[in-house]
């Protein structure tokens, strides 16, 4: 069975190679027949990847431990859900998953080719085929998931217990879907550069795909953060580990790219810069994989590899070749997209430009943080790491700048705005920022940075909300509708705009959660005998006892803590520390009590010993708003993506 899987991968390799040649020939000679042959070959290649994935899944479900991958990631007592997720729990499997999602994206794009401008498609097909070829090459060489042992082991090693979490089941597919979809803007941009086409047809098609890529990547990062928070037990959702930050870089450049792309539908500005960002974002997705899987970049938290892996050379080679080709193309086409228009200092365009620089600056800072030890090794002969305070210092001011722009940008007109008009429209946002600042001060908040950043968020939020209210009120006046009908109908007629506003509000909620939880966290470690209590903030926890439950594969230690606010009982928390036989180690299962104001987070640090159990207790403020923001982000993007949302011309 495993042989058939490997043959399917070989077929994918051959089919994509054939497609690349056929479509290049078709593009060169202008013969439609060859392009069609290329399309069919690519569809065959995609189907082959589907087949290979189905076979690996079958091998996992039938627990064929002779297959090395199955042995390493499943065991006979593993719950079925985690046998499915074992498909991407390992390195080979996650590459196969990425290739699978990519194949699905390509198959959809092939069906949609008529939306694309003439002449662009054959070149896009070639680019898709080359990427497909690269995935297939990895899978048949250094990432072969179908390697066999000479004999069949009796039992598998099993999935790592920390990966047994719903967050870890969906985090990799969502993130890889984001990575996979970013190949679409890349292929479109490259084909545009090759053909020298700069006309904006197909932009609304491209907008959809770019928005989807951005959504999946962002959601993938958020789900990963949520998994770290609820599962890893170190009491945080983000630690600036290279593995996490590597996925943030393409999101930052992708955000910059998305904003320019949306602006381009309106006005042809910054064309070459937009193209550069599309290419950079695509390559940074591969760079992220190089960081997590290559073993070159040192990662503290969850380095998948200990030493440089063969795959690192493949990835570096791919990144360098594509980057060199892109730079060459951008240079050759330096004259083509030159219809940049005048940019007034006070206009939507100029504020977009600054937004862009800020996002790219953040991306560069994160990239610098990741590669700094390697740079210092070369320059000074010693590896120097950057503390997480480096990122905090860079992010705090730049993120504030972005929030400020978020509040100003929607009030600026395209082309030109008058300062007087702007100041007039900023009255309410500025007033609400002050009002919130004073209110928080009165409530006893003295942290200067907290006061400032929450006031900024209030400023930006009131701009967005004010603008929505303004739009609804105008509509209700013009159409003589009730305000409620106006909200409903303008929602229908201008979905894109409202989707974008919702996404911006979602980002503000996430910012609020991040600021709250990083500035207002309390942490304590206590050792308690039964009946003893510990107090943190306004919570009091009483340790009531410990249960020890033997299960297949693990022994659970469950502590019971009664939680009181003041003197009234509000609930029970049961943190666990479980001994896993397959890894001969303990794993912590935290217990969290979430409210809209703060999270009470308890980890059992050490099971009862000499009558005392030890706990780590945290209180984080506003964490839940990060996840609520994530939900709103999904909703807003879906509204903007919904069919029919394209009809209006309003952007951003």
């Amino acid at each position: 069975m495993a042989y058939i899987g490997y043959l399917a991968l070989l077929l994918a390799l051959l089919a994509s190679a054939y497609c690349a040649m056929a479509s290049t020939w078709g593009a060169y000679t202008g013969r439609q027949k060859w392009v069609e042959r290329g399309e069919n070959a690519l569809l065959v290649g995609s189907a082959a990847i589907f087949l290979a994935t189905a076979i690996l899944l079958h091998l996992l479900l039938s627990r064929d431990f002779q297959v090395q991958y199955v042995y390493a990631h499943t065991s006979s007592y593993q719950p079925t859900l985690y046998v499915f997720s074992a498909l991407w729990a390992g390195q080979e499997g996650s590459f196969l998953l990425w290739a699978l999602l990519y194949s699905a994206v390509v198959a959809i794009v092939v069906r949609q080719r008529r939306h694309l401008p003439n002449g662009l498609w054959p070149h896009m097909l070639t680019i898709f085929a080359v990427i497909h070829f690269f995935f297939a090459l990895l899978l048949v060489t250094v990432q072969n998931p179908f390697l066999l042992y000479p004999v069949r082991p009796m039992e598998g090693a099993g999935i790592l217990p920390a990966l047994e979490n719903p967050g870890m089941v969906i985090h990799p597919p969502v993130l890889f879907l984001g990575y996979a979809v970013y190949s679409v803007p890349f292929a479109f941009t490259m084909a545009g550069l090759i053909t020298g086409q700069v006309q904006p047809t197909g932009l609304s098609w491209l907008r959809r795909w770019s928005l989807m890529a951005w959504l999946f990547l962002g959601l993938g990062i958020l789900i990963g953060a949520w998994w770290a928070y609820v599962e890893l037990g170190w009491g945080g959702y983000w630690a600036w580990d290279p593995v996490e930050s590597a996925s943030l870089i393409p999101w930052l450049t992708g955000t910059a790219y998305l904003h320019l792309l949306l602006a381009q539908e309106r006005q042809a500005i910054f064309k070459r810069w937009t193209a550069t960002l599309a290419i950079a974002t695509f390559l940074l997705c591969f760079f992220g994989t190089l960081v997590t899987r290559g073993g070159i970049i040192v990662s503290d938290l969850h380095g998948f590899a200990q030493s440089t892996q063969p795959i690192a050379y493949y990835l570096i080679g791919f990144i360098l070749v594509v980057a060199a080709l892109s730079v060459a193309l951008l240079y050759l086409r330096r004259d083509l997209p030159r219809d940049e228009q005048e940019i007034e200092p006070l206009s939507r365009e100029s504020s977009l430009l600054i937004t862009n620089l800020l996002f790219v600056g953040l991306g560069i800072a994160v990239l610098l943080g990741i590669v700094f030890p390697h740079i210092s090794q070369i320059v000074w002969g010693i590896r120097i790491f950057l503390d997480s305070s480096f990122y905090n210092r860079v992010f705090a001011p730049l993120a504030c700048g972005l929030i400020l722009l978020l509040g100003i940008c929607p009030l600026l007109g395209w082309r030109k705005s008058s300062p007087q008009k702007l100041l007039l429209r900023l009255r309410i946002p500025i007033a609400s920022a002050f009002a919130l600042g004073v209110l928080l001060f009165a409530l006893g908040i003295r942290h200067l940075y907290a006061l400032f950043s929450f006031a900024l968020i209030a400023f930006a939020a009131s701009t967005i909300l004010g603008e929505l209210v303004h739009a609804f009120a105008t509509r209700s006046r013009l159409h003589a509708e009730s305000l409620f009908t106006a909200i409903a109908s303008s929602h229908r007629s201008n979905r894109r705009r409202y989707g974008a506003r919702l996404v911006h509000l979602a980002i503000l909620l996430i910012a609020m959660g991040v600021i709250g939880s990083s500035l207002y966290k309390t942490e304590t470690s206590v050792s308690l005998a039964r009946g003893e209590t510990a107090t943190i903030q306004n919570y009091t926890l009483c340790y009531e006892g410990m249960e020890v439950i033997p299960e297949a594969g693990r022994q659970r230690h469950i502590a019971t803590l009664a939680v009181y606010r003041g003197s009234s009982y509000i609930g029970t928390l049961k943190p666990e520390k479980n001994w896993y036989w397959n890894i001969a180690n303990y794993l912590t299962e935290v217990a969290i009590r979430t409210t809209l104001v703060d999270d009470l987070y308890v980890a059992l640090d050490w099971p009862e010993e000499n009558g005392r159990a030890t706990f780590r207790i945290y209180v984080y403020s506003l964490v839940i708003w990060i996840w609520i923001g994530g939900g709103l982000l999904l909703l807003g993007t879906l509204i903007a993506l919904w069919p029919g949302a394209d009809r209006t011309s309003e952007t951003i």
């Binding site: 790592l160 920390a162 890893l232 940019i343 200092p345 790491f385 309390t522 470690s525």
Partner: protein, 151 residues
């Protein structure tokens, strides 16, 4: 819109570039100035010893293997003492905080903190890598409780 008609008058272009360059410079300055005081040297145990008194005030990062026989864990005071081994070199470490889940004999550990005059390494951060057999995976971090800010 036609490309010819919209040709950019030079001075306007210049404005745009200057404005962009100023913003870019501010960002670059912010990044470079943030490097100050956030750097941690990565040293081996022998390098650490060779750097003598100068290294006592500098935060450093040292990695090695945990010697199982040397582990002393007192759960009631959150004190973890162990020896970090790198080849022939042995570094005694004291860490106050949580005992990480994967902490055991032979674990690949990484400590961050300061080297003391006494020859003991006072770690403020202890990170562990999983045994390479479990390629995919989570290493647990445990950070020293930071002084709480805010309320």
């Amino acid at each position: 819109m036609s490309i010819e008609k919209q040709h950019i008058p030079e001075p306007k272009r210049w404005h745009l570039l200057t404005g962009g360059a100023i913003v870019a410079l501010v960002i670059a300055y912010l990044i470079l100035s943030s490097l100050q005081g956030t750097t941690i040297y990565a040293l081996t145990i022998s390098e650490l010893r060779a750097r003598g008194p100068a290294i006592y005030t500098q935060p450093v990062r040292v990695s090695g293997t945990v010697d199982g026989n040397s582990i002393f864990w007192d759960a009631s005071t959150f004190t973890l003492r162990f020896n970090l081994v790198d080849g022939e070199e042995v570094l005694p470490v004291i860490y106050r905080g949580t005992r990480p889940d994967m902490f055991r004999d032979g674990a690949q550990a990484l400590v961050e903190g300061k080297y003391q005059r006494s020859g003991v390494f006072e770690a403020t951060k202890l990170l562990l890598k999983c045994p390479s057999k479990y390629e995919a995976a989570a290493t647990m971090t445990a950070e020293h409780p930071e002084p709480t800010s805010g309320k």
